[in-house]
């Protein structure tokens, strides 16, 4: 009994370790990319319905508000068990725009008025400015759907890569 459980634990442990190594061996992108971050629960729970939004794209207060209202999340129920919710919230806060040490996050933090707590990246003044060349009807194309679908145009969005050279707007 004991041995079986130990073997199981070792097996699971090594799967976890491999996941970490793979994530870490990924080379850091150019300076404009947001820093590589990883948390297994976040990656699993926050990517099933949409792009895995990098924590450096919103300030701490936004993530805290999003994470405390997951059961009514943009009209859907994204509720989590309390342990997962706490772990993901802490991860998001620690890497949020006002805590991350990179130029992009610093700009996002500065350009978001202190008295506002945006729940959408796509409604921050920073986002609107960066996308002022995208026409309204483009957002509505079937392969895009809404500004929240970053991955439709930024292939590397899940990894925080928004480099201009790799932007491709689907027809």
């Amino acid at each position: 009994m004991t041995r079986k459980i130990l073997q199981m634990a070792v097996l699971i442990g090594s799967v976890t370790a491999t996941g970490w190594l793979l994530a870490d061996s990924h080379k850091h992108g150019e300076s404009k990319s947001l820093p590589q971050v990883s948390n297994a629960k976040w990656a699993a729970e926050c990517s099933s319905c949409h792009t895995l939004y990098h924590p450096g794209l919103l300030p701490e207060r936004s993530w805290s508000k999003i994470m405390s209202g997951l059961d009514r999340h943009f009209g859907e129920n994204a509720g989590l068990d309390p342990l997962a919710q706490k772990e993901i919230a802490e991860f998001l806060v620690a890497n949020s725009a006002d805590h991350a040490q990179n130029r992009r996050s610093a700009k996002i933090a500065q350009s978001t008025p202190a008295q506002s707590t945006p729940l959408r990246i796509s409604e921050t003044p920073w986002f609107v400015r960066k996308h002022d060349e995208v026409r309204n009807d483009v957002w509505k194309r079937p392969k895009i759907g809404s500004p929240a679908n970053c991955t439709a145009c930024h292939n590397g969005a899940d990894k925080g890569d928004f480099a201009e050279a790799r932007i491709k707007i689907p027809r």
């Binding site: 004991t2 976890t16 319905c49 949409h50 792009t51």
Partner: protein, 139 residues
């Protein structure tokens, strides 16, 4: 149980959250069958036909929108569907997507979200088993 076993069990439990231990869909069905019998003594067995009806049925949500399981998962469980946020959902039928229905906690999480989302109530154990029986019947 000795100390070693207890601590490795604790480790296992801690890790279970990140790396779910694969379970076969039949194991999940056994659990749902046991609960279904408790919920309804007349329960006999799961039915793929009832499961299909649940999968395809469209109803009007109290907020006015037409909703169904098929709306996100498409009317054919072998096809990829799409979330409301426009992300692709891999096919639901294990014959088309072997990753499906292998993690009991994940299955429960999505039943509780999606039944609420579509039916505005929880699904019964029988409905869950019927739904899975339907997915498994697709070759």
């Amino acid at each position: 149980m000795n100390k070693m076993t207890t601590s490795s069990l604790a480790l296992l439990l801690a890790l279970a959250g990140t790396n779910a231990i694969a379970a076969a869909p039949v194991d999940v069905l056994k659990d749902y069958a046991a609960t279904a019998r408790k919920e309804n003594p007349a329960f006999k067995e799961f039915s793929a036909q009832r499961g299909e009806a649940l999968y395809q049925a469209e109803r009007t949500h109290s907020k006015g929108a037409k909703v169904s399981c098929a709306a996100c998962h498409t009317d054919n469980p072998k096809n990829a569907g799409q979330t409301r946020a426009h992300k692709q959902i891999e096919p639901m039928a294990p014959s088309a997507n072997p990753q499906r229905l292998t993690d009991a906690a994940k299955i429960e999480k999505w039943f509780s979200r999606n039944c609420q989302d579509v039916l505005e109530r929880a699904c019964s154990a029988q409905e869950k088993g019927d739904f899975i029986a339907y997915l498994l019947s697709i070759k």
